[in-house]
């Protein structure tokens, strides 16, 4: 099944990146029938309502699939914070990283975040799983961090361990999240916000884009 019409629709509606991955390998038995993962990314900082925008795009994808007789299951961008419904219990079974890497839109950097070649790790991601036999994109082959270790050296809490991510062992822990979080509690400034985010801003892939945009 062709993916172009769906991708074009979502891009026309504002998605920065759209990819389709075969996510069979990553699924548990509850979800195994929904083996295509549609990864949708928005360039962060575009607006403050990034999550709402992503959810709107997910809805469009759901409708598109439904019209063609397929089912879908959307994992919202802030899946970890949702607790209000029954379906929220299944969110933790799917990571946005899975769909992104399986659809070739990025690898996981040493900083533990999805890195896209063009946009770096400044993206917000959402995933739609479906049983539509969409033709999958080529998965990413591995990390392109190379010798760079900027995020390892600059992380104020020493949380970034410096490992290379690979598809072979996608669950290896790259960042000591307890350390990262402890910084957050130490500096109350971040209490309700995301953490310091140096690992995002320091990354050359995130910055090259920045340079391009501002000449």
């Amino acid at each position: 099944m062709k993916t172009r019409p769906l991708k074009e629709l979502l891009q026309r509606e504002g998605a920065t990146l759209v990819g389709v991955g075969d996510v069979t390998q990553a699924l548990t038995s509850e979800l195994i029938h929904l083996n295509r993962g549609i990864a949708i990314a928005l360039n962060r900082g575009l607006s403050s309502d990034t999550n709402d925008q992503l959810e709107r795009l997910q809805k469009l994808a759901e409708v598109w699939l439904k019209e063609r007789g397929y089912r879908s299951f959307s994992i919202p961008p802030d899946s970890d914070r949702r607790k209000d419904k029954l379906i929220t219990k299944l969110y933790h079974l799917v990571s946005h990283k899975t769909a992104a890497t399986c659809s070739g839109l990025g690898w996981i950097g040493k900083n533990g975040l999805i890195i896209n070649n063009t946009y770096g790790s400044k993206m917000s991601w959402a995933t739609v799983l479906t049983d539509a036999p969409l033709h999958p994109d080529t998965p990413v082959s591995g990390s392109q961090c190379g010798e760079c270790d900027l995020c390892v050296r600059h992380c104020p809490s020493g949380a970034v361990k410096g490992y290379h991510w690979s598809m072979v062992d996608p669950r290896q822990e790259l960042v000591a999240y307890d350390k990262c979080r402890s910084l957050k509690t130490k500096r109350h400034g971040f209490a309700e916000k995301p953490n310091c985010g140096f690992c995002v801003t320091i990354c050359p892939f995130s910055r090259s884009r920045h340079k391009q945009k501002h000449g």
Binding site: E30, L31, H33, L34, K66, R71, F73, K85, L86, I87, K89, L90
Partner: protein, 228 residues
């Protein structure tokens, strides 16, 4: 008089909303039902719940799997949230107190919640223990609240086996309390076998049974008081 054709359409909308896990359709349907002046109870059971029954069938036919089921249940609750406040409060001239919960090892609580809702509507005092409730918790709660009834729900053949244990303990500690069981794998025969005082196959019958039981208890108490 509510227009029959329109009414059917709205019920169908809610039913399909649940089946197709479309929360918005369920909400719209629920609102439309209210705008039409339909009875909220009827909208719930002939619309939303009838959809969930079909979902159960689809699950059995392996057309639906766990994520679909959960989304269907979310859609049902979305409609229920709108309709519930409009359920006609019945005045049955009787105040009962009920402990209700889904037994240990079982997280199916949609049916239990519907039964609970009927009790709420009837003005009963309901102590809802939730789902996956440890067996002893029912006994404790009954003693603590001195409720007239304990209602046990189970949707699995593996979890319903906890029921006779609870029944035995409650009867031992408080023989005056009555027990009703329900949920798809249970039956009148099992209720009799396990020494429960009642069984009902759906939520409205659960309420009818409960009313019977509470009035019976009341009569019993009055008689006792009279003898003294």
């Amino acid at each position: 008089m509510v227009d029959e054709a329109k009414k059917k359409e709205v019920l169908e909308k809610m039913r399909n909303g649940v089946i197709q896990y479309d929360e918005d359709a369920c909400k719209e349907g629920a609102q439309e039902a209210l705008d039409l002046g339909m009875d909220a109870n009827e909208a719930i059971f002939d619309g939303l719940v009838s959809g969930m029954e079909e979902v159960g069938r689809l699950f059995e036919a392996q057309e639906y799997f766990v994520p679909e089921i959960l989304m269907c249940a979310d859609a049902l609750y979305a409609g229920l949230d709108i309709l519930k406040p409009h359920c006609q409060q019945m005045d049955i001239g009787l105040k009962g107190a009920v402990v209700i919960g889904t037994v240990e090892g079982d997280v199916h609580d949609i049916g239990k919640n519907l039964v609970k809702m009927m009790f709420d509507v009837a003005g009963f005092n309901v102590y809802d223990l939730g789902r996956d409730v440890p067996l002893d918790k029912f006994v404790e709660e009954q003693l603590k609240t001195d409720s007239d009834l304990v209602c046990l729900s189970a949707m699995m053949t593996t979890s319903m086996v906890g029921m006779p244990k609870i029944i035995e303990k409650i009867k031992e500690k408080n023989p005056d309390c009555m027990i009703m069981i329900g949920g798809a794998p249970t039956s009148k025969e099992l209720a009799d076998k396990w020494g429960a005082d009642g069984y009902a196959e759906d939520a409205s019958n659960a309420l009818k049974e409960a009313i019977k039981m509470v009035s019976f208890l009341k009569k019993l108490r009055d008689e006792k008081a009279g003898k003294k």
